[in-house]
Amino acid sequence: MIIILWILLAVLPGILGAGVLTIVYRRKNKCPFSFADSYLLGCVACIGMTQIAHMAGLLGGVSLWKTGLFLAAWLFAATMLCVVISAYGYFKDKSRYPHRGVEGKVTPTLLVVFLVLVGAQALFIYCMKAPITLGDITLETVQSFLAEDGIYKVLPLTGVASEQGMPMRYAILCLPTLYAVLSQGFGIEPELLVCHIIPVVVLAAAYLAYYRLSETLFGREKQKKRFLFLLMVALVLTVSDAAVFMDGYNALHSGYTGVAVRNLVLVPYTLCAALEGRWWKAVLCILAEACIVWTFLGCGVCVVITLGILILKILGKHLRIFGKREEQA
């Protein structure tokens, strides 16, 4: 079952995202297909669908098993629909699909170094014991859901029924429900799923997000520069794990938390979307962040990045902080 889970986690978001992109770009014949884009959009879509199932389970008092069934059913339906849409889009316009970069080839040495670095990170995450992150109670919450077969029927930290209740802005976060459903559905130990499998998936999604950002910064064809950028990202993540708020710590030790998913995946993807002016993707990232991280009325880091870049674009003609000399010349 664990192999089936790995395959689903690798493939399902990509299919969902491909379907969404095919619909959105159906009239723009020259918008090239990107696997990274598809996968990341698919992850955002999965978060959204999980959120709806989670709210149904939370507010309706539905058992975890039924919530999982509901989520599985409409994920399956959505995936089938996206397969049909993507296939239609592919056969209608094959020219959108991947072509080889024309500027610079990635040298084998750099590729090996990158793969070794990323492989070591994935192995570290999969094999080492995840430390308890202060303030995070994801695993306790997942165990509570599984023990009670319900969502927030008891307090996660003690297992007793709550007398005073829980803050709603914490109860609405959907990641523990997703993990509990996956654990229950695939018969996998929660600790293995939450602390080892999910962080590896988040790490892969993070590299896809930075790869997509590299396309925005360097252009699609400059493969060598994009790869170098990715290698530098891998190095930064490896060395910056000294404290819980750093990206390296999030990647290597707490990849299952909402803040890790936000900082590693949503932040670079939001940045990419905002720099390209594709505001609908930025809005989706903002909504996804509200579903997985405690925010101020749904407004979090992605809102700041989106608004910041938008303001800079509007003021763009009046700001000459970088590149001044060439423009003056």
């Binding site: 360097f218 930064v236 794990d241 990206d247 390296g248 910041g308 800079l312 060439e326």
Partner: protein, 298 residues
């Protein structure tokens, strides 16, 4: 007003903590300065916008007044350091490093460029403290697993409500959601306490403090291999045991039916447990793991 002062203090002190832990942020400013000073324009339009955004956000977070506003925006749950999530440090460092290496490559020094950048990044990063944390966590996980195994051997017919040292209690519910605790991780982790409105009684808090003091001293005794400092011997000390019956009574009143105490327990502690269990008409069984004595009350 006092809340504003707290935010301001958080912003000022948080910056010191942040710079101490996240040295690569210095690289960001170096790269921003380099990007501004470059004669040619290697930075494309989108790269330029990313640099501009990073510069503006960084300045907002460095100024205590604007940092305070940002902290209010991100809610009081998060400390100052988390506000830097709004600054794409990893992306900017990687982008700047890639551009630097490209510049050196044009001068035929690509390998030197890569090695130089890698060395600077490594020196600015973590110097290897995480493995220590991993071994501590692994040890606590093992201890909790042994305690749980004893409970499973006893049988899980009746609901188990646990009282144990905090290193056991913080692992137990991560392993098994069916084991209840008389207090959770929010007793010592204030951030975890933000998830509910429950408040623990003073009696329970005192019982927690008593057990943690005893556990810590038992660990010191174990390291120093001094039987005179063992948990059993410590239990003899009057100061530490003045209120032991009150602590145990509070724990049993809270519903605990599994007591996990470090090391070998002194006779008079056991007598207290038996006496209090008898008051509630409960029978007591005990078993041992490598580090703990487990009492089961049913």
């Amino acid at each position: 007003m006092s809340r504003m002062i707290l935010y301001m203090e958080g912003a000022v002190q948080g910056l010191g903590r942040f710079l101490e832990a996240d040295k690569p942020v210095v690289l960001v400013f170096a790269l921003l300065l380099a990007g501004w000073l470059w004669e040619k324009k290697p930075v494309g339009k989108k790269g330029r916008q990313m640099f501009q955004y990073t510069l503006v956000m960084s300045l907002l977070l460095l100024c205590p007044i604007t940092a305070m506003v940002v902290m209010i925006y991100q809610t009081a749950y998060y400390d100052y350091e988390w506000a830097w999530s709004m600054v794409p440090l990893t992306a900017v460092i990687a982008y700047g490093a890639a551009l630097l290496i490209e510049r050196w490559e044009q001068q035929g020094k690509r390998l030197l460029g890569i090695l130089g950048v890698a060395a600077v990044l490594c020196l600015c990063g973590n110097q290897g403290t995480v493995l220590t944390v991993e071994s501590q966590e692994a040890e606590a996980w093992e201890d909790a697993s042994e305690v749980l195994q004893e409970l499973y051997d006893f049988g899980m017919g009746k609901q188990r409500i646990l009282w144990a040292p905090k290193n056991i209690m913080e692992q137990v519910r991560r392993k098994d959601g069916k084991i209840l605790l008389i207090y959770g991780r929010d007793m010592w982790d204030t951030k975890a306490g933000a998830y509910d409105y429950e408040v623990y009684s003073e009696a329970l808090t005192n019982a927690y403090i008593w057990l943690e003091v005893m556990t810590e001293q038992a660990q010191v005794a174990s390291i120093m291999a001094d039987p005179g400092l063992s948990f059993a011997a410590l239990c003899e000390e009057e100061d530490l045991n003045r209120d032991r019956e009150n602590h145990l009574r509070a724990v049993l009143k809270a519903g605990a039916n599994v007591l996990v105490l470090p090391g070998l327990v002194a006779e008079h502690i056991e007598e207290s447990i038996l006496k209090l269990a008898a008051e509630q008409q409960l029978s007591v069984q005990n078993t041992y793991t490598e580090e703990y004595t487990v009492y089961l009350l049913e």
